[in-house]
Amino acid sequence: MLDIITTYFLNGIFFASILFLITSGLTLIFSVAGIVNFAHGCLYMIGAYIAAILIKATPNPMLLPFTFIVSALLVGIIGVVIERGLIKWIYKRPVDYQLLLLFGVSLILQDFTRIIFGPQPLSSSEPFIYSGTIEILGRPYPLYNIIVIIVSFIIGISLWLFLYKTKLGKYIRACSLDREMSSALGINTSYIFPMIFLIGATLGGLSGALILPPTVAMLGMDADALIEAFVVITIGGLGSIKGALIGSIIIGIIRAFGIVYIPEIELAIIYLVMAAVLIVRPRGLFGKEYRVA
């Protein structure tokens, strides 16, 4: 019994790891640049598609970890291009414009994906299969999942170290607290913003790449990811990486156990949780933005 529960628990942490990567990217972009990146789900989706192609194109299994990195970085570059090309014109405009612009961008990216990769789902499960399984409490568990959890953990720690222990990280945190003040103090915001989009988009692309091997890359996965990330943020608050972590874990666990015990309303569970949190704690757990009208 305990062994089965542990399996589900690990699944939950696996989902949480992926969610954390997506959501921390979203949170970073919002905290520092003040932009709610509506196109983030698309970045995740593109990451998955690129990974699908690259994995199939990699002859040597030893190089596979690099395909993930490359996929993530390619998405990161797309993020910077969007930022420098479009987003930088609307920083000073009201929130509506940002939402509209990014909504348009997400449409473009969605169709871009369909045009380049085709309408059929793509899969490349080699990394998942080749990793095999390890025994946990007497039951086999995919080693791939454990690796993803560890990678996500490492990235989380690195992110924390970067933000809190490096000079650049401190600049970034200063920007997130007060944008105008920071530029008045001479911090060069025209470097910081593209960099944040690079990091945020890379995280988004990475999460898509990592989720690919056990699943498939398909059109529409962007909307699902965006909504889930949104639910995480609702719980953890927009603008808090710590909140993103806790929210991801909560949603991941709920999802892992929900699929097993109550499959009929699996999709509804996410929405119910979101509605419940919104009603009970409108500010999320750690949110820095007050959102009640």
Binding site: V36, L107, I108, R114, L278
Partner: protein
């Protein structure tokens, strides 16, 4: 230069446009009837959407939900329940979509811009997913065929009787416009405009802005439901994708600008452009997205808004 009073210009424009609408079927092909009927459907949808966006200042990304609910309700009543009275179907569609609006709106208006937008999107996605989950009722990704509606004993099939369908739609369009006009110029309408300009101030003159945002939301969903109801027999088929086309009404409104007639004009241009563009390219969503981006960056006031500014600019410089 003699100044033509603004009122006379407006009346002139009103008469001309009404006449054009009335004589279209007499001079055009059935395809044109179909096209303009679709434009009117979207115009009704956009009119309602504009209550929320243009007048109250709330941006929703999920208004396709109520459009879809309206469309599916009509499909159910006409096809599944074999009640072929169009009027009953439309009534049911409006009731159900408005009820959804009441419930969902109640939750959504408690939140500010970003969360409001995301919540409305989430609900639309939710209905979209429901369509697939309950595929045995809704027909899943294949959707449902919509049987011929009847108005009393008149066959109102959009295929067999495009002119009849057109006038029927036009009738509802005129009513929708008239009602919207009354609402927008009423005390209630002014309150909504004030909420968009300065929500906090409105609280301090004794109005619960949450309540009025809710009312505005409800109105917009009513219009969306009506639009969806008129859409269903026109297209003949309903599919789950109807729940995720919120971008279209948003763009039609943006395109035309958030004045009163902006959404109407925007819808007409949008539908014509869409049918023209989709005829020779499969990249319609890409183009739509690019257009939204372009309009947001370059023409925030939309066609009508930008035109209005240019015209008043010209008028002012001529007078002085």
């Amino acid at each position: 230069m003699k100044q033509i009073p603004e009122n006379k210009i407006k009346k002139f424009f009103l008469i001309i446009s009404t006449s054009i609408f009335l004589i279209i079927p007499l001079i055009g092909s059935p395809y044109l009837d179909f096209l303009i009927s679709m434009a009117l459907v979207y115009a009704i949808w956009a009119l309602g959407y504009n209550f929320l966006y243009g007048y109250t200042g709330l941006l929703s990304f999920g208004h396709a939900a109520y459009f879809g609910i309206g469309a599916y309700t009509v499909a159910f009543i006409l096809t599944k329940f074999s009640i072929n009275s169009f009027l009953i179907a439309i009534l049911a569609a409006i009731v159900i979509s408005t009820l959804s609006g009441i419930l969902i709106g109640y939750l959504c208006v408690r939140y500010t811009a970003i969360y409001f937008a995301l919540l409305t999107l989430a609900f639309a996605q939710f209905f979209y997913a429901l369509c697939f989950r309950f595929y045995y009722i809704t027909g899943g990704s294949d959707g449902m065929h919509v049987s011929t509606p009847y108005l009393f004993n008149f066959n109102l099939s959009a295929i067999e009787n495009p002119i009849g369908y057109y006038y029927f739609t036009l009738f509802f369009f005129f009513i929708a416009v008239y009602v919207a006009w009354r609402i927008v110029n009423s005390p209630f309408g002014k309150i909504l405009q004030a909420i968009k300009e300065n929500t906090i101030r409105v609280e301090f003159i004794g109005v619960s802005t949450r309540k009025y945002k809710w009312y505005s939301f409800i109105l917009s969903t009513m219009y969306s439901g009506l639009a969806g109801a008129l859409y269903a027999p026109l297209f003949g088929h309903v599919v789950p994708d109807l729940f995720i086309i919120s971008a279209e009404v948003l763009f039609a409104t943006l395109l035309g600008g958030t004045t009163f007639i902006g959404p109407i004009l925007g819808s007409i241009v949008f539908i014509c452009a869409r049918s023209y563009i989709s005829a020779f390219t499969i990249y319609w969503p890409f183009i739509l997205g690019s257009l939204i981006v372009a309009f947001t960056l370059l023409f925030p006031s939309g066609i009508v808004g930008t035109l209005e500014k240019k015209i008043s600019h010209i008028l002012k410089s001529e007078v002085s």
